[in-house]
Symmetry: C3
Subunit: 309 residues, 3 copies
């Protein structure tokens, strides 16, 4: 059969099969869908601009007009976010009348935006921590414009406030967008203190019920994860249990370390070495690292020295 | 010299040198080029929309018109893909006459799209596996809209069908696009069963000749790779050899584990721990993990406890 | 309070607070800002097109017009880059008169573009190294169009020339853009020889003061990093010290290996195994790897075999 004929004859049947499969699993009329995802990404871009007035904006703006520009941006983004949150609340049967969903969405957006000055102040401690923590950094401008750590923590600090306001899917879409941009996967539920810095960052995973103190530095590939999780009678994971570790103040965790479990606490001023694997607590001021053996020659065939580690 | 003068005087010579270098290595008139890459990415976006009718679409569509929208989308994407595949077949000297390349391209596109209902059904098992496998997941809607695992496996299941139809470069561009979005690098050649879930996913590598059974769960940073590969007489790697492991049903592989080699089989119901490194087979129901030593205090200077692991 | 009223009444105050915080930390009138970041990304896209004439271009161009197209592209991109570099020099107080900043910016752009034929020739060795180093590669076209290694090293080789010309923030923005696309984080300061190949690449980190010889192959998750760094009297890291390792010619480093320290030299023709952790030098022709223990059965409860590694 020629492709043109096939497209006209067979494709509608395939389309109908696909629609039927989808209908079985999703309430298409109610989901925010991928369009909602795109709107949320647009909102997070605008919020980023709001938090860094005059720096983020796509066109240079007269400094005297910065305030007006931010206010306008905030107003339109707030309304966009309200519409999405309202739709999410309706989808989740938050209330029996749509008017209540609208009121609740309004309240959530106001609470979120009220936090912005506080969030911006904490972000400045994160910027300073990056400058202090990386010998390669030459200016705080360079950090704001190019460090993935700042992108990830900026989006996280907004997403975390929304998470606390019980709108789960919106902050998750925000955090996965940060993950896509940076390779840093921070669940919106994670609670993170001031002066937080992730160097390089690719492959970092920070789980939902993690708590991280002030002045913590993490390198690429670090996992703060769950050890295992209990299942309910139907074999499904039980939601809402503390599953991820606590990291106290002034801890440094080097590349590729894996720290697991909700009962694991890393005491303050501890240094955890590269590629270690920890499932229990360590006290303050600990130094935990792989032993670095002297290499031993085990084979010199073809001038090859073999070392075992 | 002033920049403006230099641009007029010297740049054409530089441009000529660059053109000359390129001409030595590529048949510019025949390659699909970066334009082809962009078209392939557009096709994969449209196919994603087709597989999730009403959810993926960028504008909300009347449910009764979903079928028409999918059919139209499928028809235009099918023609776009056919044009690219035809160009690839001509470039690779598939046949001595262009008409045969066109017929073959038509046949490939029809075979691919005929698989879509089957692919969509299997994707539903992947969505369910993510929901069952992640205590942080609150709904299947959240999984479809935000989990990188679903993006990666959706693109992979399409790319794998094309790979089996012997059009190598097109599915490779698709899989590298998924890699760019998600940090998950699955070669289109890999064969993957139902109910597959990759949590977090950054840094996962799954090689070309891997086979993976049903109900397998993998965490971030896992490599299913080649141990080494034989070279031909000219020192080039021999293509087409089984180089990557087999993972049987119901296996869990935790973060950062590295499993290498075409003769390595991981028996069903096995659990592989974080950061392990395996180059040989293990039988069904195995538990393989690093020993987790009790930390020993080796130095208390400045209140520092040193643990070796 | 209703959201609409709140937006009109309270948002201007929040905007003012945010502007005030930002003014304390940044010279908004002088920074290149996120607009500068976007311009730099546009320039790097255009340079990519220039280096692969006829392949990268978004619309197919008559081969005879390729030279004209490249020349035009180079001319406009050169002027765009000059404007950004001039702004950076002014911001950094490079000279007391703006005219000198313009002249210096002109000189830098000319020096960079003069390197392009040399860069393109070296990139061809990188493309060939990828083809030789990956049994899954089917053509050099596939490598140029889909391998993240080529994207990362192409951007790096441009960024590194700029770094040597003392414009730090511009190449850093380029390298972080490559990092975002590929998960490969190469600091522009790193010096890298010919025929360089990074397979898969996600999570690779190559530090600022690294030197890498010819014909080196690296896999995903490899870190060439700093062991630690000295602080000045105020507790800030001292900038400009050699902190990262030297990798000699013909070295292979497998997935997840971590090599740290400015005094660490990996001798030529060495092979470093997966997940090893090295902080000292090894001589030429070394083979360094984790010992792979025979698994021992430690528990057969529920048919479970436990292996410790």
């Amino acid at each position: 059969m020629k492709l043109d004929d096939w497209l006209n004859n067979d494709v509608p049947t395939i389309a109908e099969q696909l629609t039927h499969i989808n209908d079985q699993h999703f309430d298409i009329a109610k989901t925010i869908g991928f369009k909602g995802r795109e709107q949320i990404i647009k909102v997070i871009h605008n919020f980023h601009a709001v938090l860094f007035p005059g720096i983020y904006d796509r066109k240079p703006i007269d400094e005297t007009r910065v305030n007006v520009a931010i206010s306008n941006n905030l107003r339109s983004s707030a309304l966009d976010l309200r519409d999405i949150i309202e739709k999410v609340l309706v989808y989740n049967n938050f209330a029996d009348c749509e008017n209540k969903c609208r009121q609740e969405a309004d309240a959530i957006v106001m609470k979120l935006i009220n936090c912005f000055p506080k969030i911006r102040k904490v972000l400045q401690t994160d910027i300073q921590a990056a400058y202090n923590g990386d010998p390669a950094a030459t200016s705080t401008e360079e950090i704001v414009l190019s460090y993935p750590s700042i992108t990830a923590i900026c989006i996280h600090r907004i997403a975390h406030e929304l998470y606390k306001l019980n709108v789960k899917i919106v902050p998750r879409i925000m955090s996965e967008y940060a993950h896509e941009l940076t390779g840093i996967d921070i669940h919106p539920g994670a609670s993170i203190g001031e002066s937080f810095f992730i160097d390089h960052g690719t492959g970092v995973v920070i789980g939902e019920t993690c708590t991280i103190g002030d002045n913590v530095k993490i390198y690429q590939g670090v996992t703060l994860g769950a050890l295992s999780f209990p299942l309910d009678e139907d074999g499904n994971p039980i939601k809402g249990i503390k599953r991820h570790p606590n990291i106290e103040d002034d801890v440094i965790i080097y590349a590729g370390a894996t720290i697991l479990g909700g009962k694991t606490t890393i005491g303050h001023h501890t240094v955890l070495g590269s590629n270690i694997w920890l499932t229990h607590s360590v006290p303050p001021y600990s130094r935990v690292f792989h032993s670095q053996p002297s290499p031993s020659i085990s084979n010199s065939q073809h001038h090859a020295l073999e070392f075992e580690i």
